[in-house]
């Protein structure tokens, strides 16, 4: 059986300051495509945060009665709200595509006896769930199903 290594085995032969590079961002970090995409993914946080409060406003108006709900729907026809909802939809699609690509890679290799399904199957399953839930909500809220 091998003996454990000496605690000082990796120390430099001459004592002195360990030469390590200080952590620093590359000079071109804001213009690099990879960083831009990464920052855009983080920036969707602001869109989601506002969207959560807009849905809260809608729920509150709905609970306040028919007049408040009609007023809310009328306010949603304002170009600012329409633009915000369009930007939110684009942000959600961006987040979904990026996150669903990452999700299968982030799964543990095994949980007890269970192994996750193959990555392509998991990836496709997420898209099927996404499309299915979206179609169901559009059908229910759009008045297609009673």
């Amino acid at each position: 059986m091998a003996q454990p290594a000496h605690p000082q085995a990796m120390t430099p032969s001459r004592p002195g300051r360990t030469r390590t590079a200080p952590p620093m961002k590359p000079g071109n970090w804001p213009s690099s495509a990879r960083y831009r995409t990464y920052l855009a993914f983080d920036f969707t946080g602001l869109v989601y945060l506002i969207a959560g409060f807009v849905v809260l406003r809608a729920a509150w108006a709905f609970g306040s009665g028919p007049e408040a709900w009609s007023a809310l729907l009328a306010s949603f026809a304002h170009p600012v709200y329409l633009a915000f909802h369009l930007v939110t939809l684009l942000s959600v699609i961006f987040v979904g595509v990026r996150f669903f690509r990452l999700f299968p890679k982030a799964q543990p290799a095994r949980i007890g006896p269970a192994k996750p399904p193959p990555r392509p199957l998991l990836h496709a399953g997420l898209y099927v769930a996404w499309a299915g839930v979206t179609l169901l909500l559009v059908a229910v809220l759009g008045g297609i199903v009673p």
């Binding site: 809608a58 839930v133 979206t134």
Partner: protein, 123 residues
């Protein structure tokens, strides 16, 4: 504060992860109908009427599901938003202010979530 933030990190991550996954899956259906098609007049006249939707909320099983989906649509994007916005600000060099910014963002998400619970209870 830094120690406290590290302590609650698993809870924040749980809500953040749920916000990305569930929020992202639920939001397009809501945005396409209530946010865009309804205001643009592309839906049947009574599709988003208060009476029709209230009928759904009043259903014993469907109403509970409706409220849960609505609460998820409110609270989960708030937590995803707060956590991602925190890291966006850190990436832009605001790490020194994180001890103030992070609690403010999480308090905002928590307050919105509590109001969300009240909003779906009073439907």
């Amino acid at each position: 504060m830094k120690h406290f933030l590290l302590k609650i990190e698993p809870v924040i991550w749980l809500l953040f992860g749920a916000g990305i996954m569930v929020g992202t899956i639920l939001l397009p259906g809501y945005l396409l109908t209530v946010g865009l098609a309804g205001p643009l007049g592309l839906l049947p006249a009574d599709a988003l009427s208060w009476e029709r939707l209230h009928g759904m909320v009043s259903h014993p099983i469907g109403g509970l599901l409706f409220r849960l989906v609505l609460l998820a649509l409110i609270a989960l994007p708030l937590w995803k938003g707060a956590h991602h916005l925190r890291h966006f600000l850190i990436d832009l060099g605001g790490g020194g202010r994180d001890a103030v910014v992070a609690p403010l963002l999480y308090l905002l998400a928590a307050a919105g979530s509590v109001l969300g619970i009240l909003a779906v209870v009073r439907l």
